[in-house]
């Protein structure tokens, strides 16, 4: 209802204030962010009286389709939010403009390197991180205590020992870790931690049967084989928060959005009995790598208002605005200076993310990645269910991914000629 009201107000506003001397910027933002960013606009418009921003809110589930359709129909907005794994695709389409000439060096240094790197394709920057996310360990301190561990795990071996300890605690139907088997993130993180190169030869071929990934995949499946994690998919967990509260699982690898959810949905008595910790590492190099995620702001290639668009991006990237945004949405700021504010500096659960954000790696930056990721999830699930052996699953995965990359190989050959 609030949304409809908002949109209605927007339409009315648009109808009655069509001043000829004002530049109207079209800005597309997704989901909750699109709803909330509206409240930052009056301040921006006050500082830039000649610009009026038209915010269009798009649900996440339809965002990717809508942006591509807008591109095909030549109806792109001037500024838009996009998930940072989509950037390679929009660069291939020449739908986004490079930001290298606009971003100053001191500004650049303020961003988390690993995250900024996901926005760079062939050495050029195409998006500015708006908020960041990554995955790390959420755990129940009381359950680990009961199993005899006062600290979160730091290495893979420690982790296995801890999971065995939790599993051995009395109580039926108890698991150490929740690992939804239809998600690709954890096997990929484990692989990256061991230094696996997921695709080889300039991402022309799949490389999932290489030593490091094979070892990571084996470790991943072992967690299920030993019964430390239940073989369930995400849809089968009716209520994550209830299950976490009841002790069905003691650890969970997930992202920053769940801090707010857990604080909001877990029973009061449990609030001082859960914590977050950076990802563990295969060796002594704690913390281990995790994935560089988040959303960026980009300028459309064919926009005629690029300077004004950049002013909007700069405004939204100011530490104060990022903090305001954090307070409203819980989205983590992409600039280090915003993290010095007491609001963030004293939030211990959030601080684990700060540590982790300094240790992130990106997935291969090619347009085919999301498709490949869905294949990894597909075959990981088959292997967990035991429908395929480890070897069969990796072979089938390599075959499928090679087929997906066929066009890319053809294009690279064509370019080489």
């Amino acid at each position: 209802m609030r949304l409809i009201g908002l949109l209605l107000a927007l339409v009315l506003l648009g109808a009655c204030r069509r001043d000829a001397d004002k530049t109207v910027l079209e800005f597309w933002a997704m989901g909750r962010e699109g709803e909330v960013v509206q409240s930052l606009m009056p301040e921006f418009e006050r500082r830039h009286p000649n610009i009026r921003v038209k915010v269009q809110q798009i649900p996440w589930s339809a965002a990717h389709e809508k942006l591509l359709t807008a591109y095909a129909g030549d109806a792109m907005p001037d500024v838009f939010q996009l998930g940072n794994t989509w950037i390679p695709e929009f660069v291939v389409l020449k739908a986004v403009d490079s930001l290298d000439d606009r971003l100053t060096a001191p500004q650049r240094g303020d961003y988390f390197e690993g995250i900024l790197e996901t926005n760079e394709i062939n050495g050029r920057l195409y998006g500015l991180p708006w908020y960041v996310d990554t995955r790390l360990l959420f755990y129940r301190t009381d359950i680990l205590d009961k199993a005899g561990f006062s600290e979160p795990p730091k290495t893979w071996n420690e982790w296995l020992g801890m999971m065995a300890g939790v599993k051995a605690l009395p109580g039926e139907d108890r698991y150490a870790l929740l690992l939804p088997m239809n998600e690709w993130q954890v096997p990929v993180i484990l692989g990256l931690q061991l230094g696996a190169e997921l695709l080889r030869d300039e991402a022309q071929f799949a490389n999932f049967r290489s030593g490091p990934f094979r070892q990571a995949f084996h470790f991943y499946l072992d967690i299920f084989r030993r019964g430390y994690a239940p073989a369930v998919s995400e849809a089968q967990i009716a209520n994550l928060y209830q299950e976490f509260a009841s002790g069905y699982f003691a650890m969970y690898i997930t992202g920053p959005w769940n801090i707010g959810e857990f604080e909001h949905r877990l029973p009061k008595g449990l609030q001082d009995r859960w914590a977050t910790a950076p990802m563990l590492a295969p060796d002594e190099n704690y913390p281990g790598l995790s994935l560089a995620g988040g959303a960026s702001l980009a300028i459309a290639w064919n926009s005629t208002r690029k300077d004004q668009a950049w002013e909007l991006i700069e405004f939204l990237s100011e530490p104060e605005q990022q903090l305001a945004f954090y307070r409203m949405t819980g989205d983590l700021p992409s600039r280090r200076s915003a993290w010095q504010h007491p609001d963030l500096a004293t939030a211990t659960r959030v601080q684990a993310f700060k540590t982790q954000l300094e240790r992130v790696a990106s997935t291969p930056k090619i347009p085919e990645w999301e498709r490949i990721a869905s294949k990894i999830a597909h075959y990981a699930e088959k292997a967990v269910r035991g429908e395929l052996t480890e070897e069969q699953a990796l072979t089938a995965l390599d075959e499928d991914v090679d087929r997906i990359l066929e066009k890319r190989r053809w294009l690279l050959r064509k370019q080489a000629q």
């Binding site: 589930s61 990717h64 389709e65 591509l68 359709t69 591109y71 095909a72 695709e89 291939v92 389409l93 020449k94 739908a95 239809n182 998919s233 849809a235 089968q236 009716a238 209520n239 347009p367 999301e370 498709r371 066009k407 053809w410 294009l411």
Partner: protein
């Protein structure tokens, strides 16, 4: 040669506007997408037409080896074969009830039962998602009264399709009901009178008068229902997005995902034509069977 210069039949001019519209907005796009299905149009081709390749029947061959396509076919057949007959049975039942001579306020009931058909699906989906909610849903509350365990309607791969079928039947039965009512009203009352005089009970009347007299209506309703149900898309799109574990992925939804999620428009066009062939075959088969019966 001379016939070329003769003024065309005046009827042509009357038909021309409609023909032009059909040609421009139906045959042309269909022909274009047929061409598209012989190419590998994808995200690269969208950015630069130079990167488009003609692949002949490659998309169709790949389709035959795509396990996802066969899953989609299986799910769609499940929906058509279970949902179709059930939906027709419900429509016929509702039509018989509403048309019964003892029922008063016939117009009111007809309108009420027709309401779901004209309501937008998105609004219906919101309400049904509450009904299906595993913990607070009304359906599980009812089951609980009879001592059954709650069912995770939309989350359990075995229950998601039945849940979609139930919702689709509720949404669509009103349309066929109206057609059945029209069919029922065209049956002459004297047939029933004669049967009553001969001592036929109401089951006999239904079996030997109503059903045979409704046969032409049945042909129409079956064909229309089948065509509609084969194109299952909106229900799983708004309720489950094809999940859980692809258990509600229909052929049309697969086409949409390939086309607009992965932007493989060439492949998606091939899926579309495969669906077209399936529906065409199904329709021809039905017409043939019915013709033999009549």
């Amino acid at each position: 040669m001379r016939t070329l210069f003769l003024p065309p039949n005046p009827a042509f001019w009357f038909l021309a506007p409609a023909l032009i519209l059909i040609a421009g907005f139906f045959f042309l796009p269909v022909a274009a997408s047929l061409l598209l299905s012989f190419t590998d149009f994808d995200i690269y081709a969208l950015g630069d037409r130079e990167q488009l390749r003609f692949v002949a029947l490659d998309n169709y061959l790949r389709l035959l080896h795509d396990p996802l396509f066969w899953t989609a076919i299986k799910n769609t057949l499940y929906f058509v074969l279970v949902g179709g007959p059930l939906s027709m049975a419900v429509s016929l039942g509702a039509a018989l009830l509403v048309n019964h001579r003892l029922v008063r306020f016939k117009g009111l009931f007809r309108s009420l039962l027709f309401l779901p058909v004209v309501t937008t699906l998105v609004a219906i989906a919101v309400v049904w998602r509450y009904l299906y909610h595993p913990r607070f849903g009304f359906l599980n509350y009812l089951l609980g009264l009879f001592g059954f365990e709650p069912i995770d309607w939309l989350g359990d791969p075995d229950w998601a399709m039945p849940a979609i079928i139930l919702m689709a039947i509720w949404k669509n039965f009103g349309f066929n009901m109206i057609i059945f009512i029209a069919g029922l009203q065209s049956i002459p009352a004297r047939l029933y009178e004669a049967a009553i005089i001969d001592g036929a009970n109401s089951w006999h009347q239904f079996r030997h008068i109503t059903l045979p007299m409704l046969a032409p209506t049945f042909v129409f309703v079956t064909v229309i229902t089948m065509i509609g149900y084969f194109q299952l898309f909106a229900e799983p799109y708004v309720m489950t997005q094809g999940g859980p574990a692809n258990s509600t992925l229909s052929v049309a939804l697969l086409m949409f995902q390939e086309g607009f999620r992965w932007w493989n428009l060439g492949y998606a066009a091939a899926v579309a034509f495969a669906l077209f062939l399936i529906i065409l075959a199904g329709t021809l088969l039905q017409l043939k069977l019915r013709r033999r019966e009549i």
